[in-house]
Each structure stands twice: as C-alpha cells, then as structure tokens.
Symmetry: C2
Subunit: 129 residues, 2 copies
Amino acid sequence: MADKPTPRPTDAELSILRVLWERGPSTVREVHDLLSLSHDSGYTTVLKLMQIMTDKGLVDRDESQRAHVYTSRLGEQRTQRQLLGDLMERAFGGSPTKLVMQALSASKASAEDLTVIRRMLDQMEEDAR
Amino acid sequence: MADKPTPRPTDAELSILRVLWERGPSTVREVHDLLSLSHDSGYTTVLKLMQIMTDKGLVDRDESQRAHVYTSRLGEQRTQRQLLGDLMERAFGGSPTKLVMQALSASKASAEDLTVIRRMLDQMEEDAR
DNA sequence: ACCCACATACGAAAGTTTTCGTTGACCATA
DNA sequence: TATGGTCAACGAAAACTTTCGTATGTGGGT
C-alpha cells in the first residue's frame, strides 16, 4: 500500500514541530520545557501529542535512550510550503499570486525586506530564462 | 461586552465562504449545488454548517424569504489576510518576509505574475516615501 | 536492596468539527 | 383539500483534537 502523504499538522502539533526545528532532535521534556515558557500545557499532554505525531508519521522517534528522542520528519521549509500550498487552495482559489499580494499588502515589510524580495524576483526571472 | 473577533473559519466553513464571495448572497440550496460539483456533501450538512456560521458571526442571514439568504460578514480579502496572519504566526515565527519568500519559491508564478508582484513592490516603496 | 525522580503507555474525558436522519412547516397545484 | 416538493430546525452520531490522571517501568544514588 502506498504511504499516505503526511497529514497537515494541527495547531498544537505545529507548535511542537517548531520546537523541533529550532532545537533539533529533542526529548519530550525538552520540548515541554520550552513550550511551557509561552504556553500552559501538561507534560503528558505534550507526550501524548508527540506519540500521535509519531503514529501519523510527522516525527521520527529514537527509542535507544530511556528518554526517547524525537525528530521532525519533514524540514521546516517543506512543511511551510505544504501549509502555504494548502492555504492557497483553500482560501485563494489556487492562485499563488493572489496569496503573495495579500501577504505583501498585509505585512509591514521593511525597506530591506522589500529589497530581499525584489532580489528573489530577479533570481526567479533569471532562472526562468 | 466586547464582541469577540470572528473566529478563524474551519475548512468546511471556508469552502462555504468562498461560494458566498463568488456568488454574493446565496441560499443554502445554491451553495450546496455549487459545492456538490467538486465535493460530496449532503444538503443538511451544508445547512447545519451555515447555521453554525450564523451563530459564530461569520455570516449574516436574511430570513425575510422562505429560503434564507446568507451573506459573508467579512470580505474575501479581509478573511484571507486574517488567515495569512494566523499562518504567519503559527508557522513562520511572525515573519511576513519569510512567508512571502516561501510562497514565491513554492509557486509556479508566471512571468506576468512576477511583473504584477514587482509593480506591487514599486507601489509599496512609493507609498513608503 | 530500597527509594525516588522521571520516563512511557494507556485510556478516558472534554472540546470541536463534520456529518446526516428525521420532523414539521410552507406552498404550489392537481 | 390531499399530495409532493422544498425548506429550516433539531438532535445526535462520528471523527478528530486536546487535555490529563493513573499505572507502570527503569535507572541511579544512598
């Protein structure tokens, strides 16, 4: 049977993934401690979520140590692109341009930001040639 | 009491909102017929969702006709910006630039798209001056 | 050998989202 | 005035998400 593509992470799952991206492979304790700074959540809640994420294939688990070590299965950028693509389909009728335009108009991008983005456009046109 | 901000629409709710944006004020029947083209869903399912959306304040309902007429309470662009802002917080650490860059690199934007976006950048720098 | 701190596993409850069957009202028209 | 088609209302089930209490195991220090 064909492996299903990894499902879209839920809100709580995404907050855990962000920790894994930031810290690299981590134990439940480490993730929980970091999340606790900004968010109230019990240890077992985080544990349970990470177990579910393992079942879903969102993370890998290394059980060789007593405290299992979890790793995000998909990289940060890949997940971000997946989420963007999903939102593009669901809210922007599949138009990436509309999405970018809205993101730009809603953002308080600095002059430097605009320059960076402009360079990115240059690069894309370059590549297209 | 302060009105709560309208909650983030769920997936199914968003698909209904998109129909309302496209068609303008519509009855449940009209929304259902359109959704049925691309998606399997019972009539009463759509009805129930639209009733819930009324409770949540996502849509307004005109009950003067037998078939109630629903209208999206927030405009398409405003909702899109809300969703983008939400995703930016949850997945991009609050950085709009990162979001735009990812969206660009993931999109198969055409040459015309790039031109449009470039004009938008021009406009933004113009305004900033 | 005995605790104790800390780890996973399990299961259930609470909350939310999505689904739809059933009911009763309304209206056209035969 | 009966019949059939369309509608909103309601409630409940199913699916998914989030929460956490409790049980149980394990390893290290004393």
